[in-house]
């Protein structure tokens, strides 16, 4: 018994040491980003490195906004991510419900076809989509960043996720509603949609995260810098004469902070959400 306890004390210590080590490796970049963002430009490459900036230059954050219309990039990123998320949740839950609970011919075939499309890399569809958007004069607008992901890759994932969820909902509920004279639409609105809110929260987190951080699509579609989303806007701090690291780091902090704050307050949901997307 005693040796067992000593063994677990030892193993706990080892666990702490290992975890601390990996956590440090992962947190140092964040720390370094914040520190650099508060340094004067002549202090960013000092040797030995300055861990705590001196003087602390809050002005870098103001400079970011005066150098670039950063508020605009915040707005662009936010509204695009919100629209994509809302649209995906609505359409995916409808389709997920239909595939799980409504009987109609070719249901499983259609579902399998949709499901199989999840393996299509968006990078492969990007070229033809770009051609089409270009023909429709939708290049250099936000349209290609909103609608194709919503009804395309994210959408299919959502359908899959929500179908799995609706399958676990007892069919009694459905039957009861049917006997009460509910149409599938009213059943969906009154019973099923409220029920799937937890699963939807998962999907929301997944989609919002991806949309907010998306880089490839904005990179190819957007020309005019006033349409830029945050990840793309960060490239504006580099030019031919090099990178202004103190400003770039301040801008990076600004681009990261909103999502991190939400994450810290809703981390349980976040982690559960991501874990669920893995398991189901």
């Amino acid at each position: 018994m005693r040796s067992n306890r000593r063994g677990s004390l030892l193993s706990n210590t080892i666990a702490y040491v290992l975890l601390t080590l990996v956590t440090l490796i992962i947190l140092v970049p964040f720390f370094w980003m914040v520190t650099t963002s508060l340094k004067h430009q002549t202090k960013i490459f000092l040797f030995p490195p300055q861990w705590i900036p001196s003087p602390i230059v809050w002005g870098n954050y103001i400079e970011v906004f005066s150098r670039q219309p950063f508020h605009l990039y915040f707005f662009n990123s936010t509204y695009i991510a919100v629209l994509v998320t809302a649209g995906t949740c609505l359409f995916a839950s409808l389709a997920g419900y239909a595939f799980a609970k409504i009987k109609f011919p070719f249901k499983n075939t259609i579902f399998l076809i949709l499901l199989s499309s999840m393996m299509i890399p968006t990078e492969v569809t990007a070229i033809p989509l770009f051609e089409w958007m270009s023909a429709l004069h939708l290049v250099n607008t936000h349209f290609p960043l909103i609608v194709p992901p919503m009804l395309g890759a994210y959408g299919m994932f959502g359908v899959f996720l929500l179908r799995q969820f609706f399958i676990t909902v007892p069919s009694d509920l459905d039957e009861a509603a049917k006997i009460d004279g509910c149409t599938p639409w009213t059943t969906f609105c009154r019973i099923m949609f409220p029920l799937c809110v937890p699963a939807l929260a998962t999907l929301c987190i997944f989609v919002f995260l991806h949309s907010w951080n998306e880089f490839f699509d904005p990179l190819i579609y957007l020309s005019s810098s006033k349409l830029y989303t945050l990840p793309l806007a960060l490239s504006l701090f580099t030019d031919q004469s090099g990178t202004e690291w103190h400003l770039l780091m301040a801008a990076s902090v600004l681009a990261t902070l909103p999502l991190l704050i939400v994450f810290f307050f809703a981390q349980k949901k976040f982690i559960e959400g991501v874990a669920m997307t893995g398991i189901k």
């Binding site: 002549t42 649209g87 004069h137 607008t141 909103i146 609608v147 020309s223 810098s225 349409l227 030019d239």
Partner: protein
């Protein structure tokens, strides 16, 4: 059934809202609908003689916000005399400018007028996507076309046609950290230049003396961005008597003894003398850790923010074949547009002597009258008028514009990729140059 209708309506509504939002915040003229992005209003078409219909032009730049604000003021000025022309400024970052513009031109959604850098011009000129403005500028006495340095117009000319007007021709020059030079008791490049002794030998000597690896101080830095090889190498190559392309611009010409010497020097600065930061280093001149930085005049706007040390500018050092000063280059061109007349009018306005005086706060003007005026020389307390005279004005006659090619994008990627084998010390200068010769030549056909 009613419910289904409601549902359908909701879906339709959402779809419309989405589409609406997308195009509203999107590229402005997308609102014009199928008529496209040409920026004009429909009423403009078929208006015949009464040409004073409202027109909206799009003007693309890669400048920063301050430069954009400056143009907005110029546009306001322009509107006083041309109330029927609106100009909207569109910023596209330099790194993506050529590719984005190519794509927009191909899909007929391009701006009407915009900036072009020397390396971009051949491609657009070859594909016939620029508008000839020769008649419009040459026949207008008030415009004073002769005031523009003729050498800066070559790149935009093809026979009697002219496809653009330059507005910024910043020569490559040396920014030096005066404080570091004083600390080491060195003569500054400016002093040496005045004594006619500012050579590559002195340049290397200064670099050696200033470099102090223990405190992370480097003598010299030729590159800003490690991918931007042309700014770093051209002056070096030219001053050593080599060239990038041959005289007709049909073959790679750097694989010569002179070219090797130039590249070897660059190589040795990094790996033998260790006076130049190593590849992948991110130190910039304004950190005060670089003795000399070779950059374009346009960098002064950033350098002016330096408060921690004294700095100044000087001409490039003299090599075996002169200073090899390269000239940065940017001009305005009118692109394929439905409003060539209005676009040309705007182009002429922003390149007239008064406007160029305004833009000279950021750009080295291509008009003689502006370049030699106090507006340019005394725009800011730093650098001094004397330094500008030495490092900019006096160099204009010998300075050369970087060569271009219609396949510049491919050539650029190729040279940059091959140069990495020098940066990684995995191949010798000779090997890299002969590979460059073979691979670049195949792209120049």
């Amino acid at each position: 059934m009613k419910k289904i209708t409601t549902l359908l309506l909701i879906m339709l509504l959402i779809a419309t809202v989405l589409a609406g939002c997308a195009s509203n915040t999107g590229n402005h003229p997308a609102k014009d609908g199928t008529q496209g992005n040409k920026g004009g209003t429909h009423s403009d078409e078929g208006s015949g003689g009464a040409a004073k219909k409202q027109v909206k032009l799009q003007f693309s730049i890669w400048g920063n916000d301050a430069q954009k604000a400056m143009y907005e003021e110029l546009v306001a000025e322009f509107k006083k005399t041309n109330p029927h022309i609106d100009v909207e400024i569109m910023t596209i970052p330099f790194a993506d400018y050529q590719q984005k513009l190519s794509i927009m031109l191909a899909s007929k959604t391009a701006p009407d007028i915009g900036w072009l850098a020397e390396r971009m011009i051949p491609q657009f000129l070859e594909s016939g996507q620029l508008v000839d403005i020769a008649a419009s500028v040459k026949e207008d006495n008030e415009y004073d076309f002769a005031d523009i340095y003729p050498s800066t117009l070559d790149i935009f000319s093809k026979g009697d046609s002219l496809y653009g007007i330059p507005f910024s021709t910043p020569p490559m020059l040396v920014y030096y950290n005066k404080s570091l030079f004083a600390e080491k008791g060195l003569k500054t490049p400016t002093e040496l230049y005045k004594e006619d002794k500012w050579t590559y030998d002195e340049f290397l000597n200064a670099a050696q003396t200033i470099a102090d690896p223990n405190s992370g101080v480097y003598g010299v830095k030729l590159v800003g961005d490690w991918k931007n090889w042309s700014d770093a190498l051209l002056p070096l190559v030219w001053s050593h008597g080599a060239d990038l392309f041959d005289a007709d611009g049909t073959a790679f010409a750097m694989n010569t003894a002179e070219g090797q010497a130039a590249l070897q020097l660059y190589n040795d600065l990094m790996f033998k003398d260790k006076t130049h930061p190593k590849p992948g280093d991110e130190i910039t001149f304004d950190t005060g850790k670089i003795g000399m930085y070779t950059g374009r005049y346009s960098y002064v706007s950033k350098a002016r923010a330096i408060t921690d040390f004294e700095w100044d500018i000087a001409p490039m050092p003299e090599g075996t074949h002169g200073k090899g000063t390269s000239l940065g280059y940017a001009g305005y061109s009118v692109f394929e547009t439905e409003h060539p007349e209005e676009a040309s009018a705007f182009l002429k306005f922003i390149t007239n002597a008064t406007s160029m005086g305004v833009t000279s706060q950021y750009f080295v003007p291509s008009r003689k009258s502006v370049l030699e005026s106090d507006v340019f020389l005394k725009a800011a307390p730093q650098p001094s008028a004397e330094s500008i005279q030495l490092a900019v004005l006096d160099q204009m006659n010998d300075a050369r514009i970087a060569p271009g090619h219609k396949n510049w994008q491919q050539i650029d990627v190729k040279i940059q990729t091959l140069l990495d084998y020098i940066y990684t010390q995995s191949e010798s200068v000779e090997e890299v140059l002969s590979k460059m010769e073979a691979e670049v030549n195949s792209l120049m056909k």
